[in-house]
């Protein structure tokens, strides 16, 4: 390389970096779509770290309906008709193998097979088999893609859900939504790129959630998920204090902005300009967020799609409706957490309750998105952190099922995935994966792939090494791509 070439290369690199630094200084945080075209194509926000997607994306956004606690695949998605005649019999050692089980059932004298109490029937043109507990999802069976061969590594809730969200069982890594916000940037200049909504089901007990699940870990913290709350302000500190109305707030803001700008003229620090932009964005959010949460303009025929609970703020159904409204506004990663699937006991009481929380709402969301043409570029994911055992926990009392990481079902729909399709299978006991195993890293790699990202190339250097969502693992699940 000659000196001249070296200088040119250096200049190009420098110019690019300066331009990036400028755009970041003027538009980071939730980004500014207005500047997006300067940096990349339509698919990326201004604050995207990528110059362009690694390949043509199929999905523009994700609605991830996380079912916290671990729903039972045996009672919802993975029919095992042969189990009826084995009811109450000990799970064969040949099936169980040497796998660890939790201390909740490892002390139990027997591990008796508990067949599902619910019928399964084929639905739609595809003949997709679903539990009778999911009548509304049955109505959209031809939109669904079931991965019956999911498996994970963790056996307790905290590490398992952390693993799903971050690709590591240990705290401190960025969540999948933060990776996407970091990689792709925000498309809407008035809303965050990653929004989280939580709800609690009708079940008698529920596992807690932790803000770490949507945290940005070591990524810049503006990529953390912003949790919209069900009570009080939807976003922390969104409302003006009593006695300060909108015009008064604007009046104060004008003084803040004016004085900051004057100071910038003296000090010259570009960070002051960035702060001015963030104050303006905060002010816009004071209208855009309440407008988003206000569903009073939704007609009954839309509300009815989601079921009666949609009229209750904080319900899963209401959150599904908000998810659609967020999707319409091009929020990149919308994640709902619905608690209450941890059915160690009282399975036959709590599982139907959880299904009534989620079945119609999920089906309604799919239908609503489809009617609006949004299903084409929105990926929907529905599933929990692990599945549940075929054997009964507390068989004599209010029986239920224990945690089961070795196989379970995740459901997908929408952009880029096959419709009316089943991927993978389990053995006769739904205890081990029989065909086409899909690891958590594989699922995450596939979600990234659908958004135009090669999971091996979205990297962040921290503590001296390059990190990625899928650690050093993960294969895109080609078999489910449409």
């Amino acid at each position: 390389m000659s000196l001249g070439e070296g200088m040119r290369m250096f200049e190009t690199e420098k110019t690019k970096l300066q331009r990036r630094a400028f755009l970041k200084a003027s538009a980071h945080g939730f980004g500014a779509a207005a500047l997006g075209s300067l940096l990349a194509g339509e698919a990326l926000g201004a604050d995207s770290i990528l110059d362009k997607p690694h390949h043509q994306p199929k999905a523009k956004r994700v609605i991830y309906l996380f079912q916290s606690g671990g729903p039972s695949q045996l009672d919802l998605f993975d029919p095992k008709p042969g189990l009826e005649k084995l009811a109450g019999k000990q799970l064969p050692d040949s099936i169980r193998g040497s796998q660890r089980i939790t201390t909740m059932t490892s002390g139990q004298k027997t591990l008796p097979v508990l067949p599902s109490q619910y019928g399964f029937r084929p639905h739609g043109e595809s003949g997709l088999s679903l539990s009778d507990q999911l009548p509304r999802l049955a109505g959209v069976a031809d939109e669904l893609c079931l991965v019956r061969s999911m498996h994970t590594e963790a056996i307790n809730h905290d590490p398992a859900i952390t693993f799903f969200q971050t690709g590591s069982q240990l705290a401190g890594r960025p969540s999948i939504g933060s990776w996407l916000a970091y990689g792709l940037g925000a498309l809407n200049r008035d809303l965050p790129a990653y929004v989280v909504l939580t709800s609690r089901g009708g079940a008698s007990d529920a596992q807690p959630l932790y803000s770490r699940l949507w945290d940005s870990g070591f990524l810049p913290s503006e990529h953390s998920g912003v949790k919209f709350r069900n009570t009080g302000d939807p976003v922390y500190y969104l409302s003006n204090p009593p006695g300060i109305d909108g015009p008064l707030r604007r009046d104060m803001l004008d003084d803040i902005v004016g004085l900051n700008r004057r100071r910038q003229g003296v000090v010259g620090d570009p960070e002051i300009e960035a702060r001015i932009a963030q104050y303006e964005l905060a002010f816009r959010m004071q209208s855009s967020v309440p407008e988003l949460s206000d569903v009073s303009g939704e007609p009954d025929k839309v509300l009815d799609l989601y079921g009666p609970n949609v009229r209750k703020p904080g319900s899963f159904a209401r959150n599904c409706l908000l998810a659609r409204r967020l999707a319409e506004r091009d929020v990149r990663f919308i994640q709902l957490f619905h608690m209450g699937w941890d059915h160690h006991f009282k399975l036959e009481q709590d599982l139907p309750r959880q299904c009534s929380d989620t079945d119609q709402a999920t089906a309604g969301l799919i239908t609503d998105l489809k009617q609006r043409g949004l299903l084409e570029d929105t990926l929907i994911v529905w599933g929990g952190e692990f599945g549940r055992t075929v054997y009964a926990q507390a068989p004599e009392k209010q029986r239920g099922r224990d945690h089961h990481p070795r196989c379970f079902t995740t459901m997908l729909a929408g952009a880029g995935v096959k419709k009316g399709h089943v991927h993978g299978s389990t053995d006769d006991f739904s205890y081990n994966v029989a065909e086409d195993p899909v690891h958590v890293h594989d699922l995450n790699a596939t979600i990234l792939h659908l958004l135009g990202i090669d999971h091996e190339r979205l990297l962040f250097k921290y503590q001296g090494r390059q990190y990625r969502l899928t650690d050093v693992h993960g294969e895109v699940v080609r078999g489910i791509l449409s």
């Binding site: 290369m9 056996i155 503006e222 500190y237 104060m252 570009p270 960070e271 104050y279 250097k461 001296g464």
Partner: protein
């Protein structure tokens, strides 16, 4: 956003810069292995050609000279001095897909500059040198003395500036300087009285005396403790499922006392890592070992005891690695470290030092402290978790794949081969390990510590990745300065206050933070320190400053953590957290260091300003700039109440509205407002006064915010209007920066 953004100036860029610099000067200098070559090999090649045998391709390793130079199947990867015969060079320049290295599509593609560096390095003889941070620092020669330099720091900094054609910025005004030093050393802004005393002291040594006053203040220990607590992952709850409260706060108070007493850093280290093993340990020395018990504890039903006990031991090793050695030891938990020369066996040898407690991995519904523990002498009802050795040592085995249930070969406590041996006379135990870290022979401890403190005062470490000084670390901005400071610190009795005093008395620190186009262009991140540091206040300082300005701040060192305002329903909306019982009265106004941190639902207003949740060791805080921060400062009850009380104080000053506003402005910024600033604030006051006059009930509502009452003697509409002025002041960029 500054802080953790992907580096605008990464090592490639700096290398290119270095090369261009060299070319411009027409000097043919050698490529520096550590600065230029190693970062490329480590980030682009070692994953397949490094220490990890399992991942190694073609049996080639580039981290060991002998292997890289050896002939295999008639091919030599590197022939020193002969790039034309070196397979490494032909492969990286190859245009063929199956031939080119690194293989495409793995995110490891080399830039043209990187290829050129590797070729030049081979041409110059492929000289390998040990990673700079793994050899003991020697005291480098200090660059020439100049008038500008107040001490050695400045002589190194000036040399760096001159090399890039920059000169130092003019000195900061006394106002700017006192604000910076007071916030940096105490976490609080100076009062107007302190400022006036400093301004009127025209005698030599006035600033030095201010610095000594601030270093002697008990607030100093509180300020530095807030920093140490991040790395020590201190929280007030156990984390995980139920996340019940613990009672580790006496450990936090020990940290504050230690910093205030200027306990030498070597003692500070030994007491935290092995205070229990000292001869007849005092209660304080036992409490100090709580450092290694601050990790989270799992109380989730069904958790497997040994699995979690193993996690705690690993957490201790990783935390020690990050805090004292600047190494990510945890990488070697499952496999050989990919970058640093640490084997999996060596990781478990370190593990063995911390594996010897009579402790449980899973404790159902744990409230307070888990064994082993000790009563706190000052408050015997409080039990503090500490370290205590089992009588019969536990056998440590390598865990295959890092899995607790896959034990392999037995190992004994031991030290990594690439680091110095145990000091003579020491036993291979936890106490020996602690003394080894601070023996003065360890190449990392002092460098890591001075680098981390440097970052607190200058905004960025001399090595930017303060959490990592390993092979993958970015090249230091001032390598000789780092070594000089490290040697000075460790050979000078590990005296923290003396070290910090040197930093804040430097002319570098005393520069004005004003930046011009040239400085911004040549030194965009201020890594060269072509101006004084201008940094957003840390989370604790943002709130403490507002409390101080309002007069609400309650200063009392130590004690159980308190629960000030937080959004209603925060704990209740997640399961199993019970009800949040907010504190009252003084509990609302203690310094933020004492705010209760429930790790799974840490206080949002602190998290928004980048305080870590304290679930794991964190030694670098981001410094973000987000709209959620704006919403918090404008709307959170803490700040609205502070504005109200600040306004009340303003109303008691001066004879006119203008004088009152000017006093408030000066309290918040230390500056006298210029005419235009005063005009804007006065006009705003006038406009909003009219609004409140038209709607007195709005004024009453605003003044009703927060528990603190305001004087009934004041006109509510005037006080409300002044509250909005105070609110504007608390939101100024200048006020949330130091």
């Amino acid at each position: 956003m500054r802080g953790l953004t992907p580096p605008v100036f990464d090592s490639r860029f700096l290398t290119a810069l270095a090369l261009v610099g060299l070319c411009q000067a027409s000097v043919r200098a050698q490529v520096d292995y550590n600065r230029d070559v190693l970062p490329i090999l480590a980030s682009k090649c070692y994953a397949c050609h490094g220490v990890d045998e399992k991942q190694r391709k073609a049996k080639l390793r580039l981290d060991v000279k002998e292997v890289a130079f050896a002939e295999r199947d008639g091919v030599r990867a590197i022939v020193p001095g002969k790039p034309g015969e070196s397979a490494l060079v032909s492969r990286i320049f190859s245009a063929e897909k199956g031939e080119v290295m690194p293989p495409p599509g793995k995110g490891r593609t080399l830039s043209d500059a990187e290829k050129t560096i590797l070729r030049e390095w081979v041409a110059e003889g492929a000289v390998y040198r040990e990673h700079w941070a793994f050899s003991k620092p020697s005291r480098p020669e200090v660059p020439k003395a100049v008038d500008w330099a107040a001490n050695e720091v400045d002589r190194f900094i000036l040399a760096g500036l001159e090399a890039r054609g920059l000169d130092p910025q003019s000195p900061a005004s006394k106002e700017e300087l006192l604000r910076r030093a007071t916030l940096d050393l105490t976490g609080l802004p100076p009062t107007i009285e302190e400022l006036d005393a400093f301004l009127s002291d025209k005698t030599p040594g006035a600033y030095e005396r201010e610095v000594d006053r601030l270093l002697a203040s008990p607030r100093f220990g509180e300020r530095l403790a807030a920093w140490w607590l991040d790395g020590a992952r201190y929280g007030d709850s156990h984390g995980y499922d139920n996340d019940l409260e613990n009672s580790q706060w006496p450990w936090r108070d020990w940290v504050i006392r230690s910093f205030n007493a200027n306990k030498p850093f070597d003692e500070f280290t030994i007491e935290q890592l092995a205070g229990d093993l000292l001869d007849k340990p005092t209660n304080d020395q036992l409490i100090a070992t709580g450092f290694n018990r601050n990790h989270r504890i799992n109380t989730e039903g069904g958790a497997i005891d040994e699995e979690w006990r193993t996690e705690y031991v690993i957490d201790r090793v990783e935390t020690m690695g990050t805090v004292w050695m600047g190494l990510s030891l945890g990488c070697a938990r499952c496999h050989e470290h990919k970058y640093d020369p640490l084997s999996q066996e060596e990781f478990y040898q370190l593990f063995a030092f911390f594996n010897n407690l009579e402790e449980k991995g899973f404790i159902n519904n744990l409230r307070g402290s888990a064994e082993p523990r000790v009563a706190y002498k000052a408050n015997p009802k409080v039990q503090v978790m500490i370290m205590r050795e089992k009588e019969k040592p536990r056998v440590t085995r390598i865990l295959v794949g890092g899995q607790y249930d896959a034990p392999g070969d037995e190992v004994q406590p031991g030290l990594p081969a690439f680091l110095p041996p145990l000091p003579p006379g020491e036993k291979m135990g936890r106490l020996g390990l602690a003394r080894w870290l601070v023996s003065g022979e360890h190449p990392l401890t002092a460098r890591v510590l001075v680098n981390r403190i440097w970052e607190q005062f200058f905004g960025s470490g001399i090595v930017k990745s303060v959490e990592n000084l390993g092979v993958q670390a970015e090249w230091p901005s001032h390598p000789e300065l780092l070594d000089w400071l490290a040697v000075d610190f460790s050979s000078g009795g590990w005296d923290l206050k003396a070290f910090i005093r040197k930093l804040v008395l430097s002319s570098t620190y005393r520069q004005s933070h004003v930046v011009d186009a040239k400085r911004l262009r040549l030194d965009p991140e201020n890594r060269l320190l072509s101006r004084g540091p201008r940094l957003r206040l840390q989370a604790e300082m943002v709130r403490d400053q507002a409390l101080a300005l309002s007069g609400l701040l309650v200063e009392r060192v130590g004690g159980p953590s308190v629960k000030p305002y937080q959004p209603a329903g925060l704990w209740e909306e997640v399961e199993k957290r019970g009800k949040f019982k907010r504190g009252n009265g003084q509990d609302l106004y203690r310094r933020s260091l004492y705010t209760n941190i429930r790790r799974t639902v840490a206080p949002p207003s602190m998290l928004l300003f980048d305080m870590p949740s304290r679930e794991v060791c964190t030694v670098q805080r981001a410094r973000t700039n987000t709209p959620l921060q704006a919403l918090a400062l404008m709307n959170e009850v803490t700040y609205v109440e502070a504005a109200k009380k600040f306004a009340e104080r303003m109303m008691g000053q001066g004879a006119s509205v203008g004088e009152r506003i000017a006093w408030g402005f000066r309290s918040a910024t230390q500056r006298v407002p210029d005419e235009e600033e005063l005009r804007v604030l006065l006009a705003g006051y006038g406009r909003r006064l009219e609004r409140f006059k038209a709607s007195p009930q709005s004024a009453a509502k605003l003044l009703g915010r927060g528990e603190a009452k305001v004087s009934e003697k004041l006109s509510p509409v005037e006080l409300a209007a002044m509250t909005t002025v105070a609110g504007v002041l608390l939101n100024l960029d200048e006020v949330i920066n130091k």
